[in-house]
Point group: C2
Chain length 150, copies 2
């Protein structure tokens, strides 16, 4: 087991993961409390995670109804967990091009050129935790109420 | 992109993941529809995924109340998704030793020797999907209503 990282290092590593991981696990729930979980491509605009899926898919329905999700990034022994709220959503024809271009480059898939009916959703982190092994469970909280901890 | 695997190969790969992955992403939901997601150590008894967490943790509360979860195994570009139902749960003092021994060996952690108050939960898959990249989305369903498809 490596020595535990300090909070500053975890924040650096977390931002790198948000910028580079190919996919994010997106956990949502329906109104009757049924959990849902899928891996989705993501983009990061410096402040928000952006995902995209078909209109009417369970993830999109759950996100738009509840406004919340919990995200898992990285390997299970090098974990970032984010509690997020929906801050914006757009059909493909209305999505800002800076966001859609970044998404297309990173995902190697451009939903604007896909015949399906896609919705982009911007997810703003309110709480972030990051840890590798058990010796990093202490100090895993990096963001609370949307603010990075010093 | 590799050639898509046939169903038989995906089943073999899925069983290997159930036997060897160090952790599983466990998505649950509370009664008010708030999603929860954590990575947990797991064991596989040939039929059920076994996880363990503290009594009163959100995952245990959600599992015992709702009886359902959705699990994610593997890397996000080599994915197994399982819809599961709770088939059994035991406090550490009552867990069958075959299950607890297997869990301890695989997790390198024995909750029976831990001062916390732990609950083991056995999760039976009802539906399993496995895919790597977009060319494997077709044919990703491996189990339906608890039965492996031929």
């Amino acid at each position: 087991m490596d020595a535990p990282r300090d909070r500053q290092q975890r924040r650096v590593d977390t931002l790198r993961k948000l910028e580079t991981e190919p996919d994010v696990w997106v956990a949502t729930a329906s109104g009757d409390g049924t959990p849902y979980l899928v891996p989705l491509s993501l983009a990061w605009d410096g402040r928000r995670v952006v995902v995209c899926a078909q209109r009417g898919s369970r993830t999109i329905d759950n996100l738009l109804r509840s406004g919340v999700a919990r995200l898992g990034l990285g390997l299970t022994r090098d974990v970032v967990i984010l509690e997020v709220v929906v801050s914006d959503s757009w059909p493909a024809r209305d999505v800002p091009s800076a966001i859609a271009d970044q998404f297309a480059t990173r995902a190697d898939w451009d939903p604007r050129r896909d015949p399906g009916d896609y919705i982009y959703v911007a997810l703003e982190p309110r709480r972030i935790q990051a840890w590798r092994e058990s010796n990093e469970l202490s100090g895993r909280l990096l963001m609370r109420d949307g603010a990075w901890l010093d």
